[in-house]
Each structure stands twice: as C-alpha cells, then as structure tokens.
C-alpha cells in the first residue's frame, strides 16, 4: 500500500516539478538565446534593417550628403526612367546576366559530369577547377584580363590564328562586355562543386534500371540526372543570377576608362556608384538601389514560382 502511495506522491511531485522546471528552463533559454545572438541582432538592426528604412526614405528625396534630404516624391524614379545612361546600364547588366549565367552554369554542369566519374586524382582536378572562383573577384585578375584581352594580346592573337580576327576586346565597345562574360564564366568552380555534390546523391540503381531498359546515355541524363539534380540546379540558377546582377569590381577594373569605352561596361552598380559616390546624388542612387532590389526580388519570385514546374524534390517521387 505504502509503496503505491509513494509512487503516486512521487508522480504528483514530478508532475508539479516538471512544468516549473520547464518554465524556468524556457525563460533561461530565451535569455541565453538573445544573449548569444546579440551580435547578429545588433548587426541586423544597425546595419541591415535601419539602413533599409533609411534607404527607402532617401529614395524619395533629393540628398547630396551636405544638406538635409528634401522630399521630392517619385521624382528620382521618373528621372531614372528618362535617363539614357540608366537605361544603358540596365541593358548592359541584363545582357551580362542573360548571357553569362547560363554559359557559366552549362560549363559548371559539364565539368561536374566529367568529374563525377570515379577516376584517379579526382580531388586534385576538383580543386584546380575551383581555383578561379576564389581569385576571380580580385583586382589582380582584372589586370590579367585586361592584359589578355587587349589589342594584339593573347586572346586576339589566339583567335587570329584560328582565322577569327575580332581585334582586342578591351578597347572595343561592342566586345568588352564579352570579356566580362568570359571572366564570370571562368569562375564556374563554385556552382560546379554544388553540382558535384548533387550528382553524388543520385542513386546508382536508377541508372542501372534505366540501362536494363535500354536507355542510352543521353536519355539517362535527360530523364534521370537532370530531374534528380533539379533542386541543385535551381539553387545555382538563383544564386548565380542574383550575384550577376550585382557585378561591380570586374567592370570597374577591366575597363580602361570609367566603365567604358562608350559606357559599354556601365553595369548597374557602376552607375549607382558614380551617382552616389562621385556625384553625391545619394537620393537618386538609393532609388537605383531599390530598383535593383525589386529586380532581384522579381527574379527570386519568378524562379520560386516556376520551380513547381521543373524542380523535383524527393518527396514528390515517392
């Protein structure tokens, strides 16, 4: 009897004690959580959320850093759409994104497929192909690019020996943007590594089953590999296009004159930089930044919306 009684008392005690302990622990967790993330919280408020609000405000003002911002409504935006150099910068950037991103991803996927076969020295190859992704953003490589793509330089002479006389790319307003495209395509290592990781997850049995059914390599790629890596492809498309929209350093460094000749490499951020930091038109530049944000958001939304049609997650298969 007493044993049963003890047990019920104990059980009651536990029932009473646990919620209190849990509550106390919960409170302690809340405090600890916010303490641990206080650097990020401060950073988010001071360097992200605050500036975003300020930037939105500046976008509707005339602000030159020296006098107080003056509210002008949508004038910055209407001025922007009427500005031929702004239109040019949109054109240049879109061209760069639309040509560069698919080429880069194609090369990344191609090399990833190549490296996905188990051969000796795989790790070494992978590392070597990745290298340009890390150094590509540096001013040093910008210099190398300028030297390689100048008149009578390596690319010019190399193409000439193949019978293609395109001349130097850096001084030619029609060609210089393609040297920037080449520079971004050259940095295919990062998406390649992500593709490789995706390819490694494709179950081998699928290929074996398909081979038994008589599917050739092209069919296997189209019907197995591509759907299976579509989440990774989605991730790469999203990340690379968003990055491409924000190109700045290479356009600035590779061009001989300020993002030229003839504004040929006047990418969006170059113009934003010029307006904001060279001409002190902070309001206009902020309005430009918000248009960039809208463009990036639009691309993100469209991609997320389209993913239902072409991205296969494993849960769908089962």
């Amino acid at each position: 009897m007493s044993l049963v009684k003890d047990a019920t008392v104990l059980a009651e005690e536990v029932n009473v004690v646990r919620p209190v302990a849990q509550k106390r622990r919960g409170r302690r967790d809340n405090l600890a959580g916010y303490l641990f993330m206080s650097p990020w919280l401060a950073g988010f408020l001071l360097l992200t959320a605050g500036p975003m609000i300020a930037s939105l405000y500046y976008a509707f003002t005339d602000y030159n850093l020296f006098a107080a911002p003056k509210w002008i409504g949508f004038d910055n935006f209407t001025a922007m759409f009427d500005d031929p150099r702004w239109q040019k910068s949109v054109q240049v950037t879109l061209k760069y994104v639309v040509i560069g991103t698919p080429l880069k991803l194609l090369l990344a996927l191609g090399v990833a497929l190549l490296l996905n076969q188990s051969r000796r020295g795989q790790g070494l190859y992978r590392a070597a192909f990745y290298a340009p992704s890390l150094i590509g953003a540096s001013v040093s490589v910008g210099f190398v690019w300028r030297a390689l793509f100048s008149d009578n330089a390596v690319v010019d002479k190399g193409l000439g020996s193949l019978g293609l006389n395109l001349g130097g790319w850096i001084g030619d307003p029609d060609m210089i943007l393609y040297s920037l495209v080449a520079l971004t395509v050259w940095q295919f290592g990062a998406p390649m590594v992500i593709f490789l990781a995706g390819l490694k997850q494709v179950p081998r049995e699928l290929y074996e089953a398909a081979a038994v059914d008589g599917a050739g390599p092209l069919r296997r790629f189209w019907n197995i590999t591509l759907p299976m890596i579509s989440p990774v492809l989605f991730f790469n498309v999203l990340l690379e296009s968003i990055h491409s929209f924000q190109i700045f350093g290479s356009a600035y460094v590779v061009s001989n004159t300020f993002c030229g000749p003839a504004d040929a490499t006047l990418v969006y951020t170059c113009y934003l930089y010029q307006k904001g930091f060279q001409q002190s038109q902070m309001g206009f530049a902020s309005a430009m930044a918000w248009m960039l944000l809208l463009a990036v958001a639009l691309v993100t939304v469209v991609l997320f919306w389209s993913q239902k049609k072409w991205v296969h997650y494993e849960e769908d298969v089962k």
Binding site: F36, G43, L46, L115, R119, A127, S140, F143, N152, M288
Partner: protein, 290 residues
Amino acid sequence: MTTLTPELKSGANPRKRTGSLVWHVFAIAVLCVVLYPVVWVIGAAFKPGKKIVGSLDLFPADPILDNVKGLADGIAGISISTFFTNSLFYAGMAVVGVVISSSLTAYAFAKIPFRGRKLLFALMIGTLLLPYHVLLIPQYVMFQKLELINTYVPLLAGKFLATEAFFVFLMVQFMRGLPRELDEAARLDGCGHLRIYWSIVLPLCRPALITSAIFTFINAWNDFMGPLIYLNEPSKYTVSLGLMMFRDQQGISDYGGQIAMAMMALIPVIAFFMAFQRYLIDGMATSGLK
C-alpha cells in the same frame, strides 16, 4: 610500387584503360585552358613590360627581375609593404570577427529553443538574398556622421556583428548535424549554454569554422568596393586599391610593374587555397545542398 596494382587491374581490361586515358587527356585539356591565366600571370611578371601584352609564351625566353625589383620603389612614395600590411590587418580582423560573431549566433539558432527563433532565422536567411547596394548608401551616411570614414571600422563592423549571413547559415547547418545527446548529456551534468558552446560545440565545429575563416580571409583580401568607398588616404589603402593606384600612375599600357604586383597580390590567396582547399570545397558543397 604502389602504382603497380591499378595498372595491372586496368591492364586486364583494355577498354576501360583507354576510356580512362581519354578521360584524363580531356580533363587535362580543359584544365589547361582554365588555369592558363593563372600560370600566364606568373610568367608575365618576369617579362619586359612592353612585351607582356604581345607575347603568347607562357614563360619568358630570358626572364628579368626588373618588374619585381621595381616594386621596391613603391607607388607614389608608399611602400608596397604598407598595402600588404593593411590588407593583412583587414583580412585578419575580418576572420576574427566573423568566426566569433557567427558562431555565437549560429549556436543560438541551432541549439537554444528560444522564443521567436523561427522568425529571426527566416529574417537572417532573407538577408542572404538582399543586394548589398540597398544598404550601401545609408551605411555610408551613417559612418560619415560618426566620422569613421577613412578608418577600418566600416569595413569590419559587419564582420563583428555577424551580418554575413552565409557563414551563420553554414555554421547552423553544421551544428544541427551534431548529435543532440552530446549537449543533453552536458546539460544533465550541469553545464550552461556558454560551457556547452565553448567546450563541446565549438571544437566539433572546427571544419565549419575553418571554412568560414578561409572564405572570409580571401573575400576580405579580394574586397574592392568596400575599401574603394571607405578609404581615401593612400597610406591606408589595401592591396586592391594599391593596384588601382599603380595602374593609374603607370598608364594603362605599361604592364610590367602592374602584373608583377598583381602576381604578388595573388600569392597569399593561392597559398591559402592550396593549404585548405579540402575544407573549402566540402564547405561549399554542404552549404549548397541542404
């Protein structure tokens, strides 16, 4: 001797062997094109300035040291070592800031069930996709009002305040992968969060910390826009800005000194990369997947 077995094996299957050979030849051919610019810059640094652009040779017929020696004079009266010291300072402090602040934040997201965690995590991920340019101008205005232009504070503030969401995300992913039993056992033994973070989670997260550290170092070393906007006194310039100064001073057609310094600026990055590439690439792959 170790090469004997695979050779025997592949020798037993001649078709496999040719396939492998074709694969290697093809892969190396692609690699040659890809790595050409990297090798080219090393050779070009030892070519006479006027010959750099025209010559197709990877390495000079008669290498000269003039370009490298010329660097000793510095740029506009500033020694090259100043730029390198500045860049080292910037990159080193960036690493310290990112590793400390991001790991603390990641611990909170991954291991502490506090209220509002999901919402804050979503906000943090949201900043991953946010174009930096929206923040650029207000941040500049703010630092200008604080009279911090031409210091390293604006360049480093974000690193110490974990605004580089990519690294927080990377570490959260890694910490979530650690077995739950470990910190539960530690908690039963009476450890607080600080103790669990410091003695259990951090040591186990070493791969994620190293990946973040290397990426941060290389990104800061390569950073161009940040220093361009915030530094305006040549003695504070980083290597990237020093290079641009060099180019503007020398004119755009004489590549001798420019290429020599470009090569030197690449050395730390390439050395870092070769030493740690395994961590880097695995870190990249895991961050992309889940």
